[in-house]
Amino acid sequence: MASRRERRFWWASLASLPVLLAANYAIDAWRNAEDYVGRNELRVSGSVDGQTYAKASWTLNQARLIGDGRDGKITFPGQMRLVVVRLAAKAEDDVGQSWTQCSLTLTDPKGRRWQPLNFILSNDLSRDLDPKATPIDGCDAISRQPPAKGASTIMEEKFVVPADAVPSLSAQLSFASTRPDAISFPLRLN
């Protein structure tokens, strides 16, 4: 025969059980959610001229479509096309480490995403396209040596995309320091 105090403690422990379990799952889930949010681009906003993103202001410097014969002599078989994207960045503040884990990808309204070509292939293509010019570095290389405050730089990435996706492509940029926010630049190629 338990005393009233004992009985109350018993009921209080029972009642706290679901609360504790829920709190445990919530904390575990929050850790996983934090990790997920840091790796995915969940909020994409169109880039606005003059807006600072990752301590710099960004503009689309150039977007080239190669492979259908209109730009240069190189043509690719079938639906294959090469898109060369150049972004110009002006550092508004000390960039430091805020450009690490750069992700520059092309997306289309259907949700497809194209990753850039690896830097060896990209450099080989740069030399094929313009044997005299020095190849422009990609996002990874630039992020390791970001420009000083007030200085500008250009980064270039190449993508292989199907011809039918070309009119609706946008370039999406994000860094480890800014995810889940990303900015996008419609390429407006035709």
């Binding site: 949700g111 497809r112 995403r113 194209w114 990753q115 070509l117 995309v161 199907p162 039918d164």
Partner: protein, 187 residues
């Protein structure tokens, strides 16, 4: 007395119920395993992330190729199987690294590393969404296993909660050659 019996009965029924639940729960490997899509060789088999169309299946005793200029010949006690496929990615840039043949006995024969360096091998190709890519997979297996073959493809070996496509290969359409030279333009 009644209470004792009742509690024993209650305990027994609960034990039975829990045993039933435990024996019918799929194992961890199945719960976290591949998401399988099966199909036939004549169709384009599509999973959520990628799709495959098997073009040609070649069977031979000797394969020859020339990586880095040096020519290599490989022979086998069983047979070499060269499968030409067309792969297409649906949403993301990806590589299909894992390919295996499930033979007639159910054994799994993964891609042969003895053929590393051969041209047009699929695991070395990036698949871009919207662009079909052709390539080959090379397997080595005993002759007896070729009577009933299934091609198993996935992004990584032993995929966890990732797509896996199983294509049943049509035995009648397998072409047999004595020796195959694998060049940059195909077999």
């Amino acid at each position: 007395m009644i209470r004792l019996l009742l509690s024993l009965l209650f305990g027994g029924v609960t034990a039975l119920l829990l045993a039933f639940l435990q024996s019918t729960t799929p194992s961890y490997a199945i719960l976290t395993g591949p998401i399988e899509t099966a199909g036939l060789q004549k169709d384009t088999v599509s999973s959520r992330t990628f799709s495959v169309k098997v073009a040609k299946v070649l069977r031979t005793k000797t394969i020859a190729f020339a990586p880095y200029g040096k020519s290599i010949e490989r022979q086998t006690e069983g047979v070499w199987l060269i499968v030409s496929v067309e792969l297409q990615s649906n949403y993301d840039t990806m590589t299909i690294q894992a390919a295996a043949i499930e033979g007639a006995s159910g054994r799994l024969y993964r891609q042969s590393h003895r053929a590393d360096g051969a041209p047009r091998l699929m695991p070395s190709k990036d698949l871009q969404p919207g662009l079909p890519t052709t390539g080959i997979f090379i397997f080595e297996l005993p002759e007896g296993e070729t009577s009933d073959m299934t091609l198993v493809l996935s992004r990584q070996p032993s995929p966890q909660l990732d797509s896996e496509i199983r294509v049943k290969l049509d035995g009648a359409s397998v072409e047999t050659r004595d020796r195959v030279e694998i060049g940059a333009n195909g077999v």
